[in-house]
Amino acid sequence: EDLLAKVKAGKQITVATEARYAPFEYVEGGKIVGYDVDLLQYVMAGALPGVKNKTLDLPFQGLLPGLDAKRFDMIIAAVTANRERVSKFAFTLPIAEATIGVLTRADSAGSIKAPADLNGKVAGAQIGSVQTDALKALDKKLKEAGGAGLKEIKEYVAYDEAYADLATGRLDAVAQSLSNLGPLMKSRPGVFAVLPQTIGPKSYFAWVARKDADSAALVKAMNEGIARANKDGTMKKLQMKWFGMSMDLPVDALPEPSM
Protein backbone atom coordinates (compact mmCIF):
# COMPACT_ATOMS: atom_id res chain seq x y z
CA GLU A 1 0.00 0.00 0.00
CA ASP A 2 1.65 3.22 -1.12
CA LEU A 3 1.18 6.82 -0.05
CA LEU A 4 -1.59 7.54 -2.56
CA ALA A 5 -3.60 4.57 -1.33
CA LYS A 6 -3.04 5.64 2.27
CA VAL A 7 -4.19 9.16 1.53
CA LYS A 8 -7.27 7.89 -0.21
CA ALA A 9 -8.10 5.50 2.59
CA GLY A 10 -7.52 8.09 5.35
CA LYS A 11 -9.37 10.78 3.38
CA GLN A 12 -6.65 13.24 4.36
CA ILE A 13 -3.44 14.54 2.86
CA THR A 14 -0.96 16.59 4.91
CA VAL A 15 0.83 19.28 2.98
CA ALA A 16 3.28 21.97 4.01
CA THR A 17 3.71 25.48 2.79
CA GLU A 18 5.36 28.73 3.75
CA ALA A 19 2.55 31.22 3.94
CA ARG A 20 4.85 34.20 3.53
CA TYR A 21 5.16 34.17 -0.22
CA ALA A 22 2.47 36.29 -1.78
CA PRO A 23 0.74 35.79 -4.10
CA PHE A 24 1.43 32.04 -4.14
CA GLU A 25 0.50 31.55 -0.53
CA TYR A 26 -0.05 34.01 2.27
CA VAL A 27 -2.48 34.68 5.07
CA GLU A 28 -5.45 36.93 4.69
CA GLY A 29 -8.27 37.11 7.23
CA GLY A 30 -6.70 34.27 9.20
CA LYS A 31 -6.71 31.87 6.24
CA ILE A 32 -3.99 30.77 3.91
CA VAL A 33 -4.91 31.94 0.41
CA GLY A 34 -3.14 32.29 -2.90
CA TYR A 35 -2.55 30.83 -6.31
CA ASP A 36 -1.29 27.48 -4.98
CA VAL A 37 -4.28 27.07 -2.72
CA ASP A 38 -6.76 27.59 -5.53
CA LEU A 39 -4.84 25.37 -7.89
CA LEU A 40 -4.54 22.60 -5.31
CA GLN A 41 -8.25 22.73 -4.72
CA TYR A 42 -8.90 22.22 -8.42
CA VAL A 43 -6.35 19.41 -8.73
CA MET A 44 -7.62 17.57 -5.67
CA ALA A 45 -11.21 17.76 -6.83
CA GLY A 46 -10.16 15.78 -9.87
CA ALA A 47 -7.39 13.53 -8.60
CA LEU A 48 -8.36 12.85 -5.01
CA PRO A 49 -12.10 13.35 -4.68
CA GLY A 50 -13.32 13.42 -1.11
CA VAL A 51 -9.85 13.81 0.39
CA LYS A 52 -9.36 16.74 2.75
CA ASN A 53 -6.08 18.57 2.96
CA LYS A 54 -4.37 19.61 6.16
CA THR A 55 -1.91 22.45 5.67
CA LEU A 56 1.13 23.10 7.87
CA ASP A 57 2.73 26.51 7.73
CA LEU A 58 6.54 26.35 8.09
CA PRO A 59 9.48 28.61 7.40
CA PHE A 60 10.98 27.89 3.99
CA GLN A 61 14.12 26.31 5.43
CA GLY A 62 11.95 23.77 7.22
CA LEU A 63 10.10 22.61 4.12
CA LEU A 64 12.52 20.30 2.35
CA PRO A 65 14.03 18.78 5.52
CA GLY A 66 10.50 18.26 6.87
CA LEU A 67 9.46 16.49 3.70
CA ASP A 68 12.53 14.32 3.95
CA ALA A 69 11.63 13.49 7.57
CA LYS A 70 8.11 12.48 6.46
CA ARG A 71 6.42 15.15 8.57
CA PHE A 72 4.01 15.65 5.67
CA ASP A 73 3.18 14.16 2.33
CA MET A 74 3.92 17.01 -0.06
CA ILE A 75 5.07 20.58 -0.28
CA ILE A 76 2.39 22.71 -1.90
CA ALA A 77 4.36 25.90 -2.31
CA ALA A 78 6.20 27.71 -5.02
CA VAL A 79 9.50 25.84 -4.97
CA THR A 80 11.89 26.70 -7.77
CA ALA A 81 13.14 23.60 -9.54
CA ASN A 82 16.92 23.69 -9.65
CA ARG A 83 19.35 20.95 -10.50
CA GLU A 84 20.29 19.98 -6.97
CA ARG A 85 16.73 19.85 -5.69
CA VAL A 86 15.50 17.90 -8.69
CA SER A 87 18.20 15.32 -8.03
CA LYS A 88 16.95 14.74 -4.48
CA PHE A 89 13.19 15.33 -4.67
CA ALA A 90 10.32 14.57 -6.98
CA PHE A 91 8.89 17.73 -8.58
CA THR A 92 5.46 17.95 -10.20
CA LEU A 93 4.77 19.64 -13.50
CA PRO A 94 5.51 23.36 -13.41
CA ILE A 95 2.79 25.53 -11.90
CA ALA A 96 4.27 28.92 -12.73
CA GLU A 97 7.27 30.55 -14.28
CA ALA A 98 10.03 31.39 -11.83
CA THR A 99 12.15 33.54 -14.02
CA ILE A 100 13.86 36.09 -11.88
CA GLY A 101 13.45 39.82 -12.05
CA VAL A 102 15.26 42.57 -10.21
CA LEU A 103 13.45 44.81 -7.74
CA THR A 104 14.92 48.24 -7.00
CA ARG A 105 13.84 51.34 -5.15
CA ALA A 106 11.70 53.83 -7.07
CA ASP A 107 14.06 56.66 -6.18
CA SER A 108 17.03 54.84 -7.71
CA ALA A 109 15.24 54.23 -11.01
CA GLY A 110 17.40 56.95 -12.57
CA SER A 111 20.71 55.31 -11.71
CA ILE A 112 19.86 51.60 -11.99
CA LYS A 113 18.27 50.87 -15.34
CA ALA A 114 19.66 47.45 -16.18
CA PRO A 115 21.36 44.54 -14.39
CA ALA A 116 24.68 45.92 -15.59
CA ASP A 117 24.14 48.98 -13.39
CA LEU A 118 24.35 46.75 -10.31
CA ASN A 119 28.17 46.88 -10.30
CA GLY A 120 29.28 47.89 -6.78
CA LYS A 121 25.76 47.59 -5.39
CA VAL A 122 24.34 45.45 -2.59
CA ALA A 123 21.71 42.89 -3.57
CA GLY A 124 19.69 40.42 -1.51
CA ALA A 125 17.55 37.27 -1.74
CA GLN A 126 16.35 34.37 0.42
CA ILE A 127 18.81 31.91 1.93
CA GLY A 128 19.39 28.85 -0.19
CA SER A 129 17.00 30.02 -2.90
CA VAL A 130 17.46 29.88 -6.64
CA GLN A 131 17.31 33.68 -6.62
CA THR A 132 20.50 33.75 -4.55
CA ASP A 133 22.16 31.46 -7.04
CA ALA A 134 21.03 33.77 -9.83
CA LEU A 135 22.60 36.73 -8.06
CA LYS A 136 25.85 34.81 -7.73
CA ALA A 137 25.75 34.02 -11.42
CA LEU A 138 25.07 37.68 -12.19
CA ASP A 139 28.01 38.69 -10.04
CA LYS A 140 30.24 36.35 -11.99
CA LYS A 141 28.94 37.67 -15.30
CA LEU A 142 29.49 41.27 -14.26
CA LYS A 143 33.05 40.52 -13.22
CA GLU A 144 33.74 38.64 -16.44
CA ALA A 145 32.54 41.70 -18.31
CA GLY A 146 35.24 43.67 -16.52
CA GLY A 147 32.97 45.30 -13.94
CA ALA A 148 33.39 45.45 -10.19
CA GLY A 149 30.65 42.91 -9.65
CA LEU A 150 28.13 43.04 -6.83
CA LYS A 151 29.46 44.60 -3.65
CA GLU A 152 27.67 42.08 -1.44
CA ILE A 153 24.97 39.44 -1.66
CA LYS A 154 22.89 39.39 1.53
CA GLU A 155 20.91 36.26 2.31
CA TYR A 156 17.65 36.58 4.23
CA VAL A 157 15.58 34.10 6.15
CA ALA A 158 12.48 35.46 4.39
CA TYR A 159 11.77 37.99 1.67
CA ASP A 160 9.85 40.46 3.83
CA GLU A 161 12.99 41.59 5.60
CA ALA A 162 14.76 41.90 2.27
CA TYR A 163 11.99 44.18 0.94
CA ALA A 164 12.18 46.22 4.15
CA ASP A 165 15.95 46.56 3.82
CA LEU A 166 15.52 47.67 0.23
CA ALA A 167 13.04 50.30 1.35
CA THR A 168 15.39 51.63 4.08
CA GLY A 169 18.27 51.74 1.61
CA ARG A 170 20.46 49.00 3.05
CA LEU A 171 19.96 47.09 -0.21
CA ASP A 172 19.99 48.39 -3.75
CA ALA A 173 18.28 45.42 -5.36
CA VAL A 174 16.36 42.28 -4.53
CA ALA A 175 16.25 39.30 -6.86
CA GLN A 176 12.79 37.72 -6.92
CA SER A 177 10.56 35.83 -9.28
CA LEU A 178 8.47 38.01 -11.52
CA SER A 179 5.33 36.23 -10.37
CA ASN A 180 5.85 37.60 -6.86
CA LEU A 181 6.81 41.10 -7.87
CA GLY A 182 3.53 42.11 -9.50
CA PRO A 183 1.41 42.07 -6.32
CA LEU A 184 4.20 43.73 -4.33
CA MET A 185 4.29 46.63 -6.78
CA LYS A 186 0.56 46.93 -6.48
CA SER A 187 0.38 47.08 -2.67
CA ARG A 188 3.31 49.48 -2.06
CA PRO A 189 2.98 51.81 -5.04
CA GLY A 190 5.68 54.39 -5.47
CA VAL A 191 8.20 52.62 -3.27
CA PHE A 192 9.70 50.04 -5.61
CA ALA A 193 10.54 49.61 -9.26
CA VAL A 194 11.19 46.49 -11.38
CA LEU A 195 13.91 46.35 -14.02
CA PRO A 196 12.61 45.43 -17.46
CA GLN A 197 15.26 42.70 -17.92
CA THR A 198 15.26 39.37 -16.13
CA ILE A 199 18.38 37.65 -14.83
CA GLY A 200 19.28 34.01 -15.12
CA PRO A 201 17.70 31.42 -17.39
CA LYS A 202 14.02 30.60 -17.63
CA SER A 203 13.00 28.48 -14.63
CA TYR A 204 9.83 27.13 -13.11
CA PHE A 205 7.99 26.75 -9.82
CA ALA A 206 6.60 23.34 -8.97
CA TRP A 207 5.30 21.36 -6.03
CA VAL A 208 7.51 18.79 -4.36
CA ALA A 209 7.14 15.23 -3.08
CA ARG A 210 9.62 12.61 -1.95
CA LYS A 211 11.57 10.79 -4.60
CA ASP A 212 10.67 7.24 -3.62
CA ALA A 213 8.43 4.46 -4.83
CA ASP A 214 5.96 5.19 -2.05
CA SER A 215 5.22 8.66 -3.41
CA ALA A 216 5.39 7.93 -7.14
CA ALA A 217 1.68 7.31 -7.66
CA LEU A 218 0.77 10.43 -5.72
CA VAL A 219 3.04 12.57 -7.89
CA LYS A 220 1.53 11.02 -10.99
CA ALA A 221 -2.02 11.78 -9.82
CA MET A 222 -1.05 15.38 -9.05
CA ASN A 223 0.64 15.76 -12.43
CA GLU A 224 -2.49 14.59 -14.20
CA GLY A 225 -4.50 17.23 -12.35
CA ILE A 226 -2.03 20.01 -13.18
CA ALA A 227 -1.96 19.00 -16.84
CA ARG A 228 -5.76 19.11 -16.94
CA ALA A 229 -5.79 22.59 -15.37
CA ASN A 230 -3.28 23.73 -17.94
CA LYS A 231 -5.27 22.34 -20.86
CA ASP A 232 -8.75 23.47 -19.88
CA GLY A 233 -7.68 27.04 -19.19
CA THR A 234 -8.19 26.96 -15.42
CA MET A 235 -4.54 27.71 -14.85
CA LYS A 236 -4.56 30.81 -17.04
CA LYS A 237 -7.66 32.03 -15.25
CA LEU A 238 -6.02 31.61 -11.83
CA GLN A 239 -2.83 33.27 -13.04
CA MET A 240 -4.78 36.31 -14.18
CA LYS A 241 -6.52 36.39 -10.81
CA TRP A 242 -3.34 36.25 -8.70
CA PHE A 243 -0.50 37.59 -10.84
CA GLY A 244 -2.35 39.94 -13.11
CA MET A 245 -0.78 38.18 -16.11
CA SER A 246 -0.68 34.72 -17.63
CA MET A 247 2.20 32.53 -18.75
CA ASP A 248 2.75 29.57 -21.06
CA LEU A 249 3.99 26.46 -19.26
CA PRO A 250 5.15 23.09 -20.58
CA VAL A 251 2.34 20.51 -20.23
CA ASP A 252 4.16 17.22 -20.57
CA ALA A 253 7.24 17.43 -18.36
CA LEU A 254 9.31 19.68 -16.14
CA PRO A 255 12.15 20.96 -18.36
CA GLU A 256 15.61 19.98 -17.19
CA PRO A 257 16.79 22.83 -14.94
CA SER A 258 19.77 24.72 -16.26
CA MET A 259 21.01 25.80 -12.81
Binding site: F60, Q61, L64, P65, D68, K88, G124, I127, G128, S129, K154, E155, Y156, V157, A158, E161, A164, D165, T168, G169, R170
Partner: protein, 217 residues
Protein backbone atom coordinates in the same frame (compact mmCIF):
# COMPACT_ATOMS: atom_id res chain seq x y z
CA UNK B 1 33.42 12.68 9.52
CA UNK B 2 34.27 14.27 6.19
CA UNK B 3 31.23 16.51 6.54
CA UNK B 4 32.23 17.39 10.07
CA UNK B 5 35.69 18.51 9.03
CA UNK B 6 34.30 20.52 6.16
CA UNK B 7 31.78 22.33 8.30
CA UNK B 8 33.93 22.90 11.37
CA UNK B 9 35.80 26.03 10.20
CA UNK B 10 32.59 27.74 9.16
CA UNK B 11 31.03 26.99 12.51
CA UNK B 12 34.09 28.19 14.38
CA UNK B 13 33.90 31.54 12.61
CA UNK B 14 30.17 31.76 13.25
CA UNK B 15 30.53 30.86 16.91
CA UNK B 16 33.15 33.56 17.29
CA UNK B 17 30.75 36.10 15.79
CA UNK B 18 27.98 34.97 18.14
CA UNK B 19 30.37 35.40 21.03
CA UNK B 20 31.46 38.86 19.88
CA UNK B 21 27.91 40.09 19.36
CA UNK B 22 26.63 38.82 22.67
CA UNK B 23 29.64 39.90 24.69
CA UNK B 24 29.50 43.40 23.24
CA UNK B 25 25.75 43.55 23.79
CA UNK B 26 25.97 42.20 27.32
CA UNK B 27 28.85 44.51 28.26
CA UNK B 28 26.91 47.57 27.14
CA UNK B 29 23.76 46.17 28.75
CA UNK B 30 25.60 45.61 32.01
CA UNK B 31 26.77 49.21 32.03
CA UNK B 32 23.31 50.45 31.09
CA UNK B 33 21.65 48.27 33.69
CA UNK B 34 24.00 49.56 36.35
CA UNK B 35 23.25 53.15 35.38
CA UNK B 36 19.53 52.44 35.49
CA UNK B 37 19.99 50.95 38.92
CA UNK B 38 21.94 53.99 40.12
CA UNK B 39 19.16 56.25 38.89
CA UNK B 40 16.67 54.12 40.70
CA UNK B 41 18.72 54.23 43.92
CA UNK B 42 19.40 57.92 43.95
CA UNK B 43 17.14 59.69 41.53
CA UNK B 44 13.88 60.06 43.36
CA UNK B 45 10.42 59.07 42.24
CA UNK B 46 10.47 60.28 38.67
CA UNK B 47 13.59 58.29 37.86
CA UNK B 48 12.31 55.23 39.63
CA UNK B 49 9.09 55.40 37.64
CA UNK B 50 11.01 55.93 34.41
CA UNK B 51 13.23 52.94 35.11
CA UNK B 52 10.20 50.86 35.97
CA UNK B 53 8.53 51.70 32.68
CA UNK B 54 11.74 50.95 30.79
CA UNK B 55 12.06 47.54 32.40
CA UNK B 56 8.40 46.82 31.79
CA UNK B 57 8.62 47.71 28.10
CA UNK B 58 11.90 46.01 27.30
CA UNK B 59 11.32 42.91 29.35
CA UNK B 60 7.74 42.54 28.24
CA UNK B 61 8.27 42.45 24.48
CA UNK B 62 10.13 39.91 22.37
CA UNK B 63 13.65 40.70 21.40
CA UNK B 64 12.79 40.19 17.75
CA UNK B 65 10.35 43.09 17.84
CA UNK B 66 12.94 45.33 19.47
CA UNK B 67 15.52 44.33 16.91
CA UNK B 68 13.10 45.19 14.11
CA UNK B 69 12.36 48.56 15.61
CA UNK B 70 16.05 49.37 15.90
CA UNK B 71 16.91 47.94 12.51
CA UNK B 72 13.97 49.08 10.41
CA UNK B 73 12.59 51.88 12.56
CA UNK B 74 15.68 53.97 13.28
CA UNK B 75 16.43 54.54 9.56
CA UNK B 76 13.12 56.42 9.42
CA UNK B 77 14.73 58.86 11.88
CA UNK B 78 17.85 58.95 9.76
CA UNK B 79 20.01 56.56 11.80
CA UNK B 80 20.96 53.58 9.71
CA UNK B 81 22.84 50.81 11.55
CA UNK B 82 24.37 47.75 9.95
CA UNK B 83 22.88 44.43 10.93
CA UNK B 84 25.60 43.52 13.47
CA UNK B 85 25.53 47.03 14.93
CA UNK B 86 21.77 46.89 15.25
CA UNK B 87 22.08 43.52 16.96
CA UNK B 88 24.57 44.78 19.53
CA UNK B 89 22.56 47.92 20.23
CA UNK B 90 19.31 46.00 20.63
CA UNK B 91 20.94 43.38 22.83
CA UNK B 92 22.35 46.17 24.98
CA UNK B 93 19.00 47.91 25.46
CA UNK B 94 17.24 44.61 26.00
CA UNK B 95 19.66 43.11 28.51
CA UNK B 96 20.00 46.42 30.40
CA UNK B 97 16.43 45.92 31.59
CA UNK B 98 17.24 42.46 32.93
CA UNK B 99 20.57 43.49 34.41
CA UNK B 100 19.04 46.40 36.29
CA UNK B 101 16.54 44.02 37.87
CA UNK B 102 19.37 41.72 38.89
CA UNK B 103 21.20 44.61 40.52
CA UNK B 104 18.02 45.53 42.30
CA UNK B 105 17.76 42.02 43.70
CA UNK B 106 21.41 42.18 44.72
CA UNK B 107 20.92 45.37 46.63
CA UNK B 108 17.73 44.16 48.21
CA UNK B 109 19.61 41.14 49.53
CA UNK B 110 21.95 43.21 51.69
CA UNK B 111 20.75 43.02 55.28
CA UNK B 112 19.64 46.42 56.61
CA UNK B 113 21.72 45.97 59.72
CA UNK B 114 24.96 46.06 57.77
CA UNK B 115 24.13 49.40 56.24
CA UNK B 116 23.19 50.67 59.68
CA UNK B 117 26.51 49.51 61.03
CA UNK B 118 28.23 51.53 58.30
CA UNK B 119 26.15 54.56 59.31
CA UNK B 120 26.91 54.06 62.95
CA UNK B 121 30.64 54.11 62.26
CA UNK B 122 30.30 57.33 60.29
CA UNK B 123 31.19 56.11 56.82
CA UNK B 124 30.51 58.50 53.96
CA UNK B 125 27.86 57.45 51.52
CA UNK B 126 30.52 56.82 48.90
CA UNK B 127 32.55 54.57 51.17
CA UNK B 128 29.36 52.78 52.08
CA UNK B 129 28.40 52.25 48.46
CA UNK B 130 31.82 51.11 47.29
CA UNK B 131 33.01 49.09 50.23
CA UNK B 132 29.92 47.68 51.87
CA UNK B 133 27.12 47.52 49.34
CA UNK B 134 28.81 46.91 45.99
CA UNK B 135 30.97 43.89 46.88
CA UNK B 136 28.16 42.09 48.62
CA UNK B 137 25.53 42.83 46.01
CA UNK B 138 27.86 41.69 43.24
CA UNK B 139 28.75 38.50 45.04
CA UNK B 140 25.08 37.75 45.52
CA UNK B 141 24.23 38.57 41.94
CA UNK B 142 27.09 36.68 40.32
CA UNK B 143 25.11 33.54 39.42
CA UNK B 144 22.23 35.65 38.18
CA UNK B 145 24.54 37.71 36.01
CA UNK B 146 26.03 34.56 34.50
CA UNK B 147 22.56 33.24 33.85
CA UNK B 148 21.64 36.43 32.04
CA UNK B 149 24.78 36.35 29.96
CA UNK B 150 23.84 32.85 28.85
CA UNK B 151 20.40 34.10 27.89
CA UNK B 152 21.93 36.92 25.87
CA UNK B 153 24.11 34.48 23.97
CA UNK B 154 21.09 32.43 23.09
CA UNK B 155 18.96 35.45 22.27
CA UNK B 156 21.53 36.62 19.74
CA UNK B 157 20.30 33.83 17.46
CA UNK B 158 17.45 36.14 16.48
CA UNK B 159 19.96 38.27 14.57
CA UNK B 160 19.90 35.61 11.86
CA UNK B 161 16.65 37.12 10.62
CA UNK B 162 18.42 40.32 9.64
CA UNK B 163 21.25 38.45 7.86
CA UNK B 164 23.95 38.44 10.55
CA UNK B 165 25.98 35.32 9.74
CA UNK B 166 26.17 34.01 13.31
CA UNK B 167 25.67 30.39 14.40
CA UNK B 168 21.98 30.04 13.65
CA UNK B 169 22.21 31.81 10.31
CA UNK B 170 25.18 29.71 9.27
CA UNK B 171 23.26 26.57 10.12
CA UNK B 172 20.24 27.68 8.08
CA UNK B 173 22.54 28.47 5.20
CA UNK B 174 24.19 25.10 5.22
CA UNK B 175 20.94 23.25 5.55
CA UNK B 176 19.38 25.20 2.71
CA UNK B 177 22.24 24.39 0.39
CA UNK B 178 22.99 20.78 1.39
CA UNK B 179 19.63 19.54 2.73
CA UNK B 180 21.56 17.62 5.33
CA UNK B 181 20.51 18.73 8.75
CA UNK B 182 21.82 16.24 11.27
CA UNK B 183 25.44 17.38 11.29
CA UNK B 184 24.72 21.12 11.03
CA UNK B 185 22.29 20.95 13.94
CA UNK B 186 24.69 18.85 15.96
CA UNK B 187 27.36 21.48 15.39
CA UNK B 188 24.89 24.26 16.20
CA UNK B 189 24.00 22.63 19.50
CA UNK B 190 27.63 21.99 20.28
CA UNK B 191 28.47 25.60 19.49
CA UNK B 192 25.88 27.13 21.80
CA UNK B 193 26.55 24.56 24.44
CA UNK B 194 30.25 25.28 24.47
CA UNK B 195 29.71 29.03 24.63
CA UNK B 196 27.17 28.89 27.43
CA UNK B 197 29.01 26.29 29.44
CA UNK B 198 32.19 28.30 29.34
CA UNK B 199 30.29 31.27 30.72
CA UNK B 200 28.85 29.07 33.46
CA UNK B 201 32.30 27.67 34.19
CA UNK B 202 33.91 31.10 34.37
CA UNK B 203 31.22 32.27 36.76
CA UNK B 204 31.81 29.24 38.93
CA UNK B 205 35.53 29.90 39.00
CA UNK B 206 34.89 33.53 39.89
CA UNK B 207 32.57 32.50 42.70
CA UNK B 208 35.27 30.22 44.02
CA UNK B 209 37.69 33.09 44.18
CA UNK B 210 35.42 35.06 46.46
CA UNK B 211 36.56 33.98 49.90
CA UNK B 212 33.45 34.80 51.88
CA UNK B 213 31.21 32.83 49.53
CA UNK B 214 33.09 29.66 50.23
CA UNK B 215 31.34 29.05 53.52
CA UNK B 216 27.75 27.97 53.60
CA UNK B 217 26.45 30.55 56.03
Amino acid sequence: MQEFLELLPRFAVAALLTLELSLAGAALGLAGGFLLHLFRLGGGRVFALGCGVYVWLLRGTPFLSQLFIVYFGLPVLGLRLSAPEATVVSLAFYSAAYFSEIFRAGWAAIPRGQIEAAHAFGMTSRARFCHIELPQALAFALPLLANQLILVIKESAVASIITVPELTMTTSNIIASTYSYVMPYALLIAGYWLLTQSVAWLAQQAARRIPFLRTPS
